[in-house]
């Protein structure tokens, strides 16, 4: 047993991990989801917005964190569309963000009758987040100028009534970085704009501070957060969503991979204990 554990080739671990993350995509199953208070708060904050409000959605992720941030963005966009809220996509952290966000919006929009330019807009990728946001606060159309298609945003029906950042009802940043802290600095603190976030699981522990202080109205933490959000959304708007949603498959793959890593940790420690016991016995004999 000890020899087997000690000489275990790491490629077996890799093969098991590969199997565990691919299997749930072919064998669908449903696990119970316990909704955390942080996710519930984010959901409720969007629920409280008056219809036709304007929401700024920061899509600050790239393909690297797609596994966690895409389902989060999907759930937020679905909720905004189901509630008939207008929204703008904006990317700071990575040029891929604006493209990935737009792909997702275009995929979901027809299900809710949403039209680009009328119900939603893509502001695109912008550099220098700090100074850009400072100017954005004062005059939104002047700072944004055009959407990704090159259309002046001031002429778009979706931007009706949006002059300064004070006209924006809420901001939501989906990110694997700390970009949401700039939203807190320039939008939440000076303008009291509600801010929600979707973060990768590894970034979430830092953000509990801001949920605690009320600077974040709520948070989706990792893929589990997206699954929790989906459970809340499905309960109210679309009970059939979990049956055909990819969030479920992602979440199941995540669950099994976590379990596997927990098993690896336990096995590694068992190997260490067996080795230590063997060495102790040998010392006593010798």
């Amino acid at each position: 047993m000890l020899r087997l554990l000690q000489s275990l080739d790491r490629r077996y671990l890799y093969a098991l991990l590969l199997l565990s993350v691919t299997l749930p995509f072919f064998v669908p199953f449903q696990l119970p989801v316990a909704v955390t208070p942080a996710t519930k708060k984010l959901y409720d904050a969007i629920e409280r917005l008056p219809a036709n409000s304007f929401v700024l959605v920061g899509v600050d992720w790239s393909a690297g964190s797609r596994g966690e941030n895409r389902p989060q963005t999907e759930m937020i966009l679905r909720h905004l569309m189901a509630r008939h809220l207008r929204f703008a996509i904006l990317a700071f952290s990575d040029p891929q963000g604006a493209t990935l966000g737009e792909e997702l919006a275009k995929e979901i929009a027809p299900q809710y009758g949403y039209v680009e330019g009328v119900n939603w807009v893509n502001f695109g990728y912008r550099v220098d987040m700090v100074n850009w946001l400072k100017a954005f606060i004062q005059n939104v159309p002047q700072q944004v100028k055009t959407d990704v298609r090159g259309v002046p945003v001031a002429n778009l029906p979706v931007m009706q009534g949006i002059r300064t950042a004070r006209d924006i009802a809420m901001a939501i940043d989906i990110t694997p970085t700390a970009s949401y802290q700039y939203y807190i600095q320039f939008l939440t603190q000076p303008l009291h704009m509600p801010l929600g976030v979707g973060l990768t699981a590894v970034m979430a522990p830092e953000a509990y501070n801001y949920v605690d202080s009320g600077q974040l109205v709520g948070m989706m933490a990792g893929l589990t957060g997206a699954a929790e959000y989906q459970a809340l959304f499905a309960r109210q708007y679309d009970p059939r969503l979990p049956l055909h949603s990819r969030v479920n498959a992602y979440s199941n793959a995540n669950s099994i991979a976590h379990l596997l890593i927990i098993t690896f940790i336990l096995l590694g420690n068992v190997a260490m204990f067996l080795e230590r016991r063997g060495r102790l016995r040998a010392t006593r004999r010798g």
Binding site: L8, R10, L13, Y14, L16, L17, V21, L31, P32, V33, A34, T36, A38, S62, A63, G64, S65, R66, G67, Q96, T99, L100, R126, V127, D128, N131, W132, K134, A135, F136, I137, Q138, N139, Q143, K145, A204, P205, E206, Y208, N209, V211, D212, G222, T224, A227, N252, S255, I256, A257, H258, L259, L260, I261, I262, F264, I265, L267, G268, N269, M272
Partner: protein, 265 residues
């Protein structure tokens, strides 16, 4: 303010835009040559002065009192200029990206010339860079079916997939490290391990399922929530205070020109 607005008004005529860009590039070239010609100590003073002015604008704009009501509510005398300063700042950031590209070219060209063992990777860099650059330029200036297809292959097919692959590889290293390195060797390591196991189990629906028959305070998702929102928050807050005080001190040093080293040499 009118003068500033005139300067930053969008230019729609292509000829005028080309003339503006050529003019700006010429002015930058002249400025660059002048900076190269003046002695190093004087150059440092110029950089310090410009840095101080930039910082002073934002500091004053933040601290000066704002009008409580009226058409200029929440604004002070400097607030209307933030858009113009934001534009200047974006242009400067654009130049820093250019500097990064120059640096990459220098490093990889050097490897190619020396024919070092990593020269193949440098060649791959140049090929990828040129392919992405030329196709993007073509696609944005004269979009057609071919440019769209090429852009799709390079950006969606290659870049995004490679990005996702690079990130996914971490999972395999974590799996290997979990087996070989996460060991109970001391009391501290044991506490860390138990906490990690609880948080990991609480993070996934399987953990919820395994403990759903337990009383509420003993359910793994509730224990995980307590760890993250109570114990973790106290520690993270302390670290954040330390980091932010350090960042404030560093910002002041840069703004006032007290920082030595790369910034001012």
């Amino acid at each position: 303010m009118g003068l500033w607005s005139g300067f930053f008004h969008p230019v729609h005529s292509k000829t005028l835009l080309a003339l503006y860009i050529a003019g700006v590039l010429f002015a930058c070239l002249v400025l660059f040559l002048v900076l190269q010609l003046i002695p190093v100590p004087a150059r440092r003073h110029v950089i310090r002065f410009v840095t101080f002015l930039g910082g002073l604008f934002y500091a004053l704009e933040f601290f000066l009192p704002v009008a409580k009501s009226g058409p200029h509510a929440d604004q002070n005398v400097l607030t209307p200029y933030t858009t113009a300063f934001g534009n200047i700042s974006q242009a400067i950031v654009g130049f820093t990206i250019g500097l990064g590209v120059i640096n990459l070219f220098q490093v990889h060209l050097g490897r190619l010339v020396k024919r070092s063992s990593d020269a193949m990777f440098s060649l791959a860099f140049f090929l990828s860079f040129l392919a992405m650059f030329l196709v993007s330029l073509w696609h944005h200036s004269h979009p057609n079916a071919l440019s769209r297809a090429l852009n799709h292959i390079l950006f969606d097919g290659l870049l995004q997939s490679l990005d996702a692959t690079m990130f996914s590889l971490i999972a395999f290293y974590i799996a290997s490290a979990a087996y070989r390195a996460f060991r109970v060797r001391s009391l501290e390591a044991t506490i860390l391990l138990v906490t990690a196991l609880v948080v990991m189990l609480g993070q996934i629906p399987v953990g919820t399922y395994l403990t759903h028959t337990f009383p509420a305070p003993l359910r793994v998702e509730n224990i995980r929530n307590w760890i993250l929102t109570q114990a973790n928050v106290a520690v993270i807050r302390a670290i954040a205070f330390g980091l932010d005080i350090g960042a404030l001190a560093m910002s002041l040093r840069i703004w006032l020109g007290l920082e030595r080293g790369n910034y001012f040499d």
